[in-house]
Amino acid sequence: MAIETQPESAQAPGGREPGGTPKERAWWLRPAWHTALIGAIVGYAFGHFLGNWIGSGYQQVGTSDDNDMAIVLGYGFLVLGWLIGLGVFNDLIRQMVGRPINGNGHTGNGLAKYFRYSLDHKVVGIQYLVGMLIYFFTGGLFAMAIRTELLSPSYHVLSPTAYLEVVGEHGTMMMMMMTSVVVGPLGNYLVPLMIGSKRVAFPRIEALSFWLTPCAFVILLSSIPLGGFPTGWTGYAPLSIQAGEGMDAYAFAFGLMGVSVILAGFNLICTIICYRAPGMRWGRLPMFVWSMLTTSFLFVLAAPVLVGGMYMIITDRTAQTAFFINQLGGSSYLYEDLFWFFGHPEVYILALPGFGIVSEIIPVFTRKPLFGYKVAAAGMFGVAILSFFVWQHHLFDSGMDPDMRPLFMLTTELISIPTGFIYLVAMGTFWKAKLRLRPPMLFAMGMYVNFLFGGISGVFLSDVPADTTAHGSFFVMAHFHYTIMGGLIFAFFGGLYYWLPKIMGVTLNERLGKIHFWTMFITFNSTFMPLFAVGMLGQPRRVFEYARNLETLNDWVSISAFCLGVSMLIFIFNFVMSTVVWRKRAPQNPWQSRGLEWQVSSPPPPDNFTHIPVVLAGPYEYGDPNALPVADLNPPAGVIGGALAGAGATTSAGTEA
């Protein structure tokens, strides 16, 4: 256990030479967003030129008028230039040449620090939050375009290429960027506060994981002027090898996001295991931190397979390898296996943080301890482990390994058992509770209701005979929108309403919050419930022509989807006005929560805690008059030293990656 015992200044990431003063240059000379942009543009131009120089002589490039090599190399150097411009490598190079590392990672005051490569996990959390909201709403706009096209089965608002472009952008934006929608903002921000630490284990890696996301976002959007990609978010070969230039954007962006999540997960695992305060036993760890831990394991174990798959797509498209071309000795099945080996843990990456958030919220708003703490934690671990053993259920009709189907049917059905634990915990917590129906609680309950439908439809899909009709239809669409949007996004909004007072020191308007919840819940169910029927009645996914008798249902769904978009506008209005204009100060602990993060000010001080706290009890001990307070924030002198002497551990020197 690495426990910080040295004075505050040495804890600051980067350290400082004794007596050295940091040099502060003018704001436009310090590396920030604008220098990163310049670096990115220069990098892209260089890479594109390099690719043209290498590839233009090839006959394939000449006849197809598509130089994928230029695009991919352009993207690669774009990312490199972006990171160089951001100053990511500055400290590394300084260390290599023996100069003192500049600054302490707290990169300025006011808004400027959010545009720099900050090493403070709270700044990174807020950067992630704004980023994720932008990515989410951009993806949502594409969804509005999809539903506009689906208003009529025969009149086409979009050309077929544009429709597939939009479908692919919506799906990829959501599945790719939303992988980090909770781990990024809430995980990075809250985990150190919840475990009683002043920092994360690897602040530079954490900040890097954030700064790769705007690159991935822009690269994905750059596919549109290049003609888009026709494969949807799954990118099946050989269609992805056949596709035009826009496909490179997909493969590169997805691979880049994969790298980002590997870094983020790695950092969180080390932080949670090594940086817990004294007294923070595993049995007292908040459920949200358990979900972050299990999600991070999934990140680190599953995302590398994705990066490998995307890499192979890129080499197939540029270097004329044939990993996925059957006629040349490759196999299209290989891609499907690689993709879904990542793809299935990916959806649990999306589900587990949702479970963590709602399990964190309900004790506070029922004023009861979390029912079955060990069951909940076991459920999360069960889901995480089993998620690696079920991926063939996406491939039941593909022709692969029919004799394995009963096995994968069994494992997929089994995974619903640990998922069900979450409901056991929720229902036990509600038993004779004192419910406070504030916005966070409303969203948590909405999450449970939506995930119920999503989960049950998942059991339908895990049954191979039922899957024969449902696979590739709107039934699957409804299933995963219920679990991911109804589950994760509702939980995310709940977490946002719950934790925003802590994160930004301002409260979101509660009345608007309730209006947001009710409109979103009603329109969400109105949009996605009929899609179960639409799928069962024979409409496949990603099509723009469908049977005439389904037009009424599709029109109902489209109108509801537009209303769902309006409910998001209510949220945006609430969020922007509350944080920028109204700025109603939040008290330190507006929800009367026992969580450790609520025991410091809102927002927390720059180093989280003045002293490393000693944790005395779990965070869910409501209703017990004999329960100790959650932590002692001013432990007497010698307490920590005494703990260390007893354990025989050496002090850490405060170095970081």
Binding site: S64, D65, Y155, S159, A162, P225, G244
Partner: protein, 242 residues
Amino acid sequence: MSLPARVTTLVIAFLAVVAGGIYVALHYIGAQPPVENYTSYASNGQVNVTLMTTAQTTVTNKPDWVTYFIQNPSTKQFVHTTYFEVPANTKVNVTILGYDGCTPLRNPVWGKVAGVTGNVENVQFFNGKTMSASQPISTFDSWADCSVQHTFAIPGLGVNVPIASVTTFNENSNLCGTSPCTGDPSDANSPHTVVKFSFTTPKTGGVFRWQCFVPCGLGYVDGNGGPMGTPGYMMGQMEVQA
């Protein structure tokens, strides 16, 4: 920042985002090729439509892609589009000027003329000097003679017409070098074929896709990418107006 300053910044940012979104929507996502409207040129229950295939587009940012052109009924110029509109319950007499070379069909079943009057197409060959007499052909062996350059197929109506190619040697220098080609059936420059066939549009209106079944997207896997997958080149839409 003071409150009014914050609100102003917000409003400006919001409008900028909205403007950007509308621009992307209209310019990139909502863009469709122009539609050549033949509905007002129908008479006696028939309408004449003329298309052209060329080896290289030259007029767009994908100059090496093969493409179709459609003749505008009023200006008689060939426009780079594949979208056209015809009235319902009408006999459509199609003339296609084929200026491209040939590629074997991936699935030879598409070598059979189907869904058109008499299940034949009438082909004339222009070898650079003279226009041959018209001969009806019903099945093409695209492998034996390399006799097919593209197909015009409307799967929704069962129409499938392989466009005959001119099988001569040393074709390269004779392929039409500019696009669109002059379009004059007795043009002195490039050998080409003139293919004529007819089909009848259904009584109810609708939008029917049409495509080429020849793997002519060179440089792409299976020949089906690139122009085969982009509107305005080798695939398009026929709107039937009721």
